[in-house]
Symmetry: C2
Subunit: 380 residues, 2 copies
């Protein structure tokens, strides 16, 4: 399908990112899968080549262009290569907006250069062992003490959790104020009382460090508050749509790439003297999946345009998140089936995609929570 | 649901097998998952306690009872414990009938005592790199030379492939005779020219050795032919229904056990101040899955009765195979979703079930091949 989203400068960017992946990621990813974490130097190399903080102003070493199409290109190519350990998408799509829009000049000076150079790897910590979907139910709290916030609590499932140098932590700063009682604090590596727990053992995304974090009387300087006290929940609600669209960008790219390799497999593999693609069932299954992939692509590209024009609604982002990821999980399952026994072998890309993708309908807000958000808007 | 399939003696057998699992399997299974193979001594212990070759006559050290309900109990309990590395089901349900029904007295003397004692671990090798569904397309061939068959070819995806001491190999013995050109040869450990390839790296079933095998001018004694020359395909067709029902027994047990643990999880886990089981979506999803689990259980128990009465048709076995395994894969996927982020963590049983189960719709004949078998019988 023809895509009209990109200009020539985007395609040049795509080519250079593909080169970067081929040179610095592809040769190492298997090793990273074994060690359950990527080496930090891939971040620094990505920073040097301009793939981190494309939206960060040039004076801080960033790309200076706020255009989500660049983010999408990074996510698409990373996904197509199966490089699920690379946490750039979280850094660029999820964390960047907080550091760009909520920071004062002093904070920008402190964090943005490292953010863009790859020396400061970022994470965002909302989820806790006891609560994920119900963000307002979090127990991590911060109490003001002079020039500091004293932070206590624990977080889990935090992407980039082991490598991260700066972590945006959602904490309750006023339990009496309900949704107005949350604030965002930036916790930095080596703050006393901040500890990392296990690097969690997941079904897939083996090279991605997803970790438990704990905070015991961590004295976070007041200067590390992002935006205003009590506005944390509001900021999250504002930024979650971009995170969700970003997950839909993964879904669309994964669908395209798994569909393509499966079609090729069905052309090549023979059974009963013909290609398995010649059986009517195969053709019908692939016809359905090709149709769904096209529909997903059109929706995602349309919503990227809307996001760029600041016109993507919370409901639309929720639609993109659940619908594309459920389609992705289904497609990969059906494509695995078409591979027969080989689909169950880890060396086949479809098997890796199967394990990597299953979390897509869960993180960034589950399918069920997305349907709640959409359902609430229908005036039922 | 009440099950009427079993008599008191079966329940005693179940209890003793549960004890065996708790004592000899549970403490070791994680280690076996890491080493990608079970230790041989668990086979010997199982043999000693009477869990191998229940249908083997007592004079050869077996249980002396041909009653598939005993097989089903072993499969059910193995499945419920998540002990997917244990290859007893293949040994008892798939291989045993060949060794019992096609062997002459001399062969019985040679193989059955070890088969029942756990000293001879068995496997059956049909699939080849180039062909799985299309059994008649296999290339492995055996040429008669005096008192021997000279065997050449390669097999893949062979369950128990590394541990196996005796392997029933399907080979073409007369390429001109089509379906009448296949024979079954028993290859034994240490026959010159028989080599094992890789222990394959799978999505799940990590403790199960699934291997490539190769045969280069292996001189198999004529005394190792099973049944009659040229009847191999016919024997396979006769025995595949029991193999397929056996896979459906796994499906039913996995569904029951994952459903049960998920219901418990949904009772315990809180979000938005209530249990996640209190949300209508959760209740509807689980209501549907409970209904499907009941339907699967009823069908499987009914077909076990029919198999025992030698009344299970090829079409019915095909129905059981595809329908229960597709239901299993779907149920586990839905239950994983209800676990939120925890569903993606390997330590949760639902995550392990997710990885272990995906092959169920593929091996023993794919869903598509089962539908072909059923479809062919509909006089379309
Ligand atoms: C690999 C991975 C990476 C992650 N990365 C991050 C990260 O970087 N930062 C971060 O903060 N978090 C992260 N998460 C956490 C993720 O966002 C949460 O797991 C997710 O939001 C779900 O929360 P939960 O796991 O607590 O599930 P729960 O909230 O316990 O939900 C359990 C089930 O109940 C359902 N449910 C809940 N409420 C309702 C309702 N009202 N109606 C119907 N059904 C409902 C859910 O949909 C789900 O099926 C990550 C998770 C994973 C697995
Ligand atoms: C873990 C594991 C254990 C196994 N254990 C054993 C074992 O112990 N012994 C053994 O011999 N084999 C074993 N197998 C092999 C298994 O039985 C085969 O993988 C299976 O039969 C499918 O064959 P295939 O992989 O060659 O797929 P193919 O035959 O190449 O099929 C590829 C796809 O095409 C579809 N297809 C094929 N023909 C048709 C048709 N006519 N119409 C429509 N669709 C069609 C299939 O359904 C499938 O989706 C095992 C496999 C695995 C993964």
């Amino acid at each position: 399908m023809e895509r009209t989203l990109f200009e020539p400068e985007h395609e040049l960017f795509r080519e250079s990112y593909q080169k970067f992946l081929a040179q610095h990621v592809a040769p190492n990813h298997e090793k990273w899968e074994e060690q359950n974490i990527v080496d930090r130097d891939v971040w620094v190399e990505a920073g040097k080549q301009g793939f981190l903080g494309t939206a960060v102003p040039e004076e801080f070493g960033g790309g200076g262009v706020k255009d989500f199409r660049y983010n999408a290109i990074i996510t698409e190519e990373t996904t197509k290569g199966g490089f699920s350990g690379i946490g750039f998408t979280l850094h660029n799509d999820v964390v960047a907006p907080y550091l760009l829009e909520l920071t004062n000049e002093e904070q920008k000076q402190r964090w943005l250069p490292g953010f863009a150079s790859g020396e400061l790897i970022s994470a965002i910590a909302m989820t806790e062992p006891g609560t994920g979907s119900d963000l307002q139910g979090i127990k991590t709290k911060a109490v003001r003490d002079g020039d500091h916030w004293v932070l206590n609590g624990s977080k889990t499932f935090i992407t980039n959790g082991i490598n991260a140098d700066i972590i945006i932590v959602v904490a309750c700063t006023d339990p009496d104020k309900g949704a107005q009682g949350f604030s965002l604090l930036v916790v930095e590596r080596d703050m006393p009382g901040f500890e990392r727990g296990r690097n969690l053992d997941k079904i897939g995304m083996k090279a991605q460090d997803t970790a438990e974090l704990s905070f015991t009387d961590v004295r976070v300087p007041a200067a590390n508050l992002l935006g205003e006290e009590g506005m944390g929940f509001f900021y999250l609600m504002k930024n979650l749509p971009q995170e969700r669209l970003s997950i839909a960008v993964v879904a669309a790219a994964a669908m395209e790439s798994v569909l393509e390799s499966t079609i090729q497999y069905c052309r090549d593999r023979k059974a009963f003297g013909k290609s398995i693609g010649s059986f009517q069932n195969t053709r019908f299954v692939l016809a359905e999946l090709a149709t769904e992939t096209t529909a997903v692509r059109i929706l995602v590209d349309k919503f990227i345009e809307q996001l760029n024009a600041e016109k993507l609604t919370v409901q639309e982002a929720a639609m993109a998140k659940w619908w594309t990821t459920e389609a992705q999980v289904k497609l990969i399952d059906r494509c695995l089936q078409l591979h027969g026994g080989y689909g169950y072998m880890k060396e086949y890309p479809v098997a890796k995609a199967y394990m990597d993708s299953r979390v897509q309908t869960i993180y960034g807000g589950t399918t069920e929570i997305m349907k709640e958000i959409i359902g609430r808007s229908l005036n039922l």
